[in-house]
Amino acid sequence: MTSCCAHTTYRTGASDIMPEAPCRHRAVQLLVALAVALLVLLGCPGRAWAADKSEQAENNAAANEEAGFGLTDFTRYNVGNGRPVKDVDLGYRYPLADDANLVAAVTADGSVLVFVDNKACDVAGFAADAESDAQALRELVEKLDENVSKGGEVLADNPGRGWTVTTATETSCGAYRVRVGVEAGGRRYVSVVPSELAEGSLPSDAADEQGVDLADALLWVDTARLVSAADVAPAAEVSPGERAASFFSELDLRPLMVSLKTSALALAVTFVLGLLAAWKTMGTSSRLKGLLDSVFTIPMVLPPTVCGFLLLLLFGQATPVGQWLIAHGVSLVFTWPAAVLSAIVVSFPLMYRTALGAFEGLDAQMLDAARTLGWSERRIFARLMLPLAWPSIAAGTVLAFARAMGEFGCTLFFAGNYAGVTQTIPIAIYFEWMSGNTDVALFWVVVVILLSFLVILFINVYTARSQRYRERGGAGVARRERKGARAGAEEAADGLEEQGGDALRIDREGLRALLLGDEEEA
């Protein structure tokens, strides 16, 4: 008791700021706050949050100030194809942009053939036969090739490879002839044909005859535009702040919206169903209760994938039940309602178990007392059981919400991974990591940790507050009595005051407050 008092005193400061209100009032306030907060969140147009895929930082241009020239629009084609262009057979071809004037073709033995347009050399001040210029060009090409390699083999890996710079438009290499700037169908190409190509014969046919595979001639082809150094936009130094800004502007926040939407709706359903299920289960015979309890709790014990699989069987096209449902307009698989249903299924047991535990913890005598006063079961549930069990129910609600937010397996199975529709945060984390976007995955991990922390904090604070309320229950009743006195119902209050128990003090006081309050209001 001493410790209780100490505890109470310790907390008094806070409770002065937050005026004590009866449980249900606080509950209502809480619900309102939650609803308003969610509304504000949902009010924000989701589309405005969607990723604005702006241009990536330029990494395909570089200049060598000393040499006086540079490269822009650097592109790497890792493969080509052997299809004819508008019925013109070019052999094996790689695309070439209209304004590209430099081609670096990497041959099968690793050497590099650099083709430069004559005019471009003059404009950019590049001399193909000058050693220093050739070296500067090589450095530029190696650097840019690495930038755009997308993880493939890069030129810089092998400093020993041969480099040939030419202003010709075609050159022979082994059994092949590489031609640049070949025009067909209004576009330009780099094409590979057999070195011995008889007049009038098609490159592909000739290759077949000679038994060479034109696709094997080149490993890959880099194309670029050679310009003077002044024409290369200086590579903007990206500060960490700008990088963060671009990261966040490109970030797709839809998983957060989907998660919140899905869990909020799931929670609304779970809350009602869970409470009703707990209430109804409590009132049934013990044998039936055991059965109901197992059924209601089993989603918590089963792996979520099993739930997802069962839902998929139930609603999917693979089973007669699913076919019947789909024929009757219930087509849920891989839709948003499926995500909500998954969240409901996995969060329901948490709501149900906590509510059931709280209801069973109530004093049965107290409920009986209410019955003797002629209260209907429904009224007892709404006016007595709910308010008294509220702290546990609130905690259960928060847990259920967290569980719904964290649902992964069941949702993935049953609702799939559709960005902006069913892709919740946990699913986004998995798929972002899998597709190599570790930073985005990390962002969501941090968001989830923060959310979870908030949830735990909320439970702790709330439990502490309701604990305090219970401990100070006497004071609460006293205040109610004062209000009652003002309303002129003092005798009734006095009458109940004498019934105070010891071990069951808290519940009896709560009951007294409720019964009394009700009489006042009536």
Partner: protein, 286 residues
Amino acid sequence: MYARLLTRRAAAVACSLALVAGIAGCSPEPAATGSADAAGSDAAEAVELQIFAANSLEKAMPEVEALYTEQTGVTFADTQYKGSGDLVEQMRGGAPVDVLITASSGTMDDAVEGELVDDATRQDMFVNDLVIVRGEGSGVEVGSLEDVASVDGNIAIGEPGAVPAGKYANQSLASVGLYSNEEGEDGEYADSIADKVVQADKVGTAAQYVSTGDCAIGFVYTSDVYRYDGIEVAYTCPDDSHKPIVYPGAVASSSENAEAAADFLEFCMTDEDALAIWAEYGFELA
């Protein structure tokens, strides 16, 4: 007192209702986007295609889609990139789809058998090579398929049932006796590698395992090397060690935009700008 309580309750109920309405009204558009607006009078302008594409197309396909949207105004629902087997299962499960592109003939055969796609629209789109990749600079040497047995560290291989790359990998391993079934499925790995094999649910996952260093080597496609950082080709599996790797594409039989879907497939294979994108990402046209 009671009145105050009532107002509060009413407020709470109103808020909850508004909340639910907000949720319902916000965007309860199901993933059934492929069929959206088909009935609309301006259907031609509002076509949205749902593509199911093999996981290896994850980086290249969005660029081609963006190009197509720019040129025609046709938009795309969130494209699904999974293991080809998963995609077919997802279609079987009832997911609305307009175009399916898988990474193996076998998975497309399944889709045809299940009457999930229109066989008449089926065409081979790309060919690919199977390679063994290692972490960049890890120095793991693989000179032949036999060398796989002596590699120090885990080996990432796609789960053969769902991931065609895994099946091809197992076929290659079977060619040197490291896997018991020549078909690349339903077999056992040889004892020398059995406890080193890590199965991945997508070919991209296998690449990711190698990229993060969880596995020393992995069996992926050439094109995967271009879409994941930190991996490089250690060895290219000989073409004759596995079945030819082709990517067939087809229009789904349930598609309500079958014509638009066929047009898109045609675009993928013929538009020169689209071809340039495939070329950048290492997808060779079949």
